[in-house]
Symmetry: C2
Subunit: 354 residues, 2 copies
Amino acid sequence: MKTITRIDQIFLITRGIKKMVKMSDVAKLAEVSNATVSRVLSSPENVREETRKRVLESIKELNYQPNTIARSFRKMETKSILVIVPDVTNQFFSEVLRGIEQKAGENGYQVLLGNSNNDVEKEYDFLNQLRQRQADGMILLTARMKQEVIEEFSEDFPVVLACEYKEGSSIPTVSIDNISGARKATEHLINLGHKRIAHLSGPMEVILSRDRLKGYHQAMLRNELETDSVLVQEGDYSYEAGYNLMNKLCALEEPPTAVFAANDEMAIGAIKAAKENFFRVPEDIAVVGFDDIKISSIFEPSLTTVSQPKLEIGEKAMELLLKQMNFEELNRKQIVLEDKLILRQSCGFNKKKK
Amino acid sequence: MKTITRIDQIFLITRGIKKMVKMSDVAKLAEVSNATVSRVLSSPENVREETRKRVLESIKELNYQPNTIARSFRKMETKSILVIVPDVTNQFFSEVLRGIEQKAGENGYQVLLGNSNNDVEKEYDFLNQLRQRQADGMILLTARMKQEVIEEFSEDFPVVLACEYKEGSSIPTVSIDNISGARKATEHLINLGHKRIAHLSGPMEVILSRDRLKGYHQAMLRNELETDSVLVQEGDYSYEAGYNLMNKLCALEEPPTAVFAANDEMAIGAIKAAKENFFRVPEDIAVVGFDDIKISSIFEPSLTTVSQPKLEIGEKAMELLLKQMNFEELNRKQIVLEDKLILRQSCGFNKKKK
DNA sequence: GCATTTTTTGTAATCGATTACATTTATTCG
DNA sequence: CGAATAAATGTAATCGATTACAAAAAATGC
């Protein structure tokens, strides 16, 4: 009966690095070969019950933890994926992230978070990280890089675009139909009788922004409304941009009676500015946003907005990525999920009288 | 003059795995040994200019990317750290994260994000990930695990606690003085003339919650105010908890005239509930929060709150971790940063007349 | 009981970069 | 110029788990 003491286990501390128990230590104690220990861990059904028990006991006794780096090295996979977010502090993305994380966790993948900080250069850096095998795959929640680059890259590595996409490309993508969502939002304002409707757009180099603008234009055109070009203002999806742009609009000789903002953060900034300019929302100016982030329902007036299925976007994106990493065929490469217009107070809808 | 075509580079696709260019390929093309290539990459000053140039050209020509897994394996380090967050969607943490990310990036470290979802079991799982060397160190933004466990763990691996801490432990920690912060907040309400002050606390098993409660009690005691035990309600830091608890308080025969909430999310939930119960904020009920998250200044009424230096907490935590990973001595293990009471409308302060 | 098949275990090569040590080449200096 | 020293490069072991293949042990069948 051999007993291993704690002293035996913890041993030498050399230059601060703890000497770890390795597989061969377990093998020795259990009086089997390295291979058998490995098998107990990865395919226990091929090991005789008795041997397996002995090995497991040794593992426990030595408190052995397999060295993931060595395993990764041998198998040339990290069991982790990289998710690139334009801005970690943005609520919208953190919910998508949650969807990704969940599916990833279920399938034994770690999520490495990459914050691009809205900087394209950073995005390119992240591609290299994947090239260097720091992760097995990648989900991009922002894609400002050149189309050719991403496309070529996606031929060699598992990549999924979520939310953003590239026109006419074959990169697996999960998103909603931004054009129709924006159209719905704008049409809602039109149906409420508004004619002078402004749009606070996102940056034009981002396709989402162009799509939402397009939806806005379509709605205006279909209803034979003119769009005064001064009513379309380009922002960057930030609260501050919404606030500043709305201040501009309020200063116009003929201010709009309604505003469709390309996301909720800008919409809230806009409402804030409108109020400060003594416009009542929704009475004087109705506002509609996009995304349905958490504050939108809490803020007053609560925000009418186009709701994206954030969690589902994350989950589906991870599913697409998993399939690629497992070399499964993708039957559908472009997944378009349903958005939904949520009516709240900021455009005059009242759930309950107050 | 040897030319390498794209075909040469991209080669065989076997079972979907692209054959990568490796160091030996570069060595062969540059007609040097493996070691020299390695040196060009990690200590170029030891390689003759001419040779170095030749190697760099080959690297470029073959588009060689070092295999990080192999490097990690050999050096037994991943150059990544693990950050455990109780909830990714929480604004407060995402800002701390940004501080961590920044410092990590500057020092060549990747940030692996772990979402514990407020589940202790998950936290224990993350410890094992570190044991298995998935990362070189770990920052805990939540620490519900048993003190002994974390402490023993922290002897073998680089760990930093941020925001949370463990009493009388020697684990490196970055935080503010929550007791004094809470006391300040409560005293502010007392100075405004409030006597019946409620407290919406966090879960009692979290030390932050206990500290903030303690600060509240201290302030009351010092000012010889009685604390009606029905006025202290335990929540879980969520908007919903604040909302529900405030509904309870409003239904009291003698409702409080002021509320100190243990964080901003609960404070905002509380204001929302107060309003729905026809209490005006701050006229009928003054509210103070804790954390100073972004919405707090946007929400109406804007929220008086104790501001934590979120970014700095993240940076300092990463600095402590870096020192541990580099086996440097820590001169100070417990870092306490300054908080600041920010006066806004929710307790009757008006920056500008409206 | 012995040949055949099946199951279990062991042996040793392998993944790709790093690095201690050995060797070669270049430089310095009397 | 040649010895001594310094600089540049090469050789080969190494990190720890996995796995193809070989060998041994157990089970089966006649």
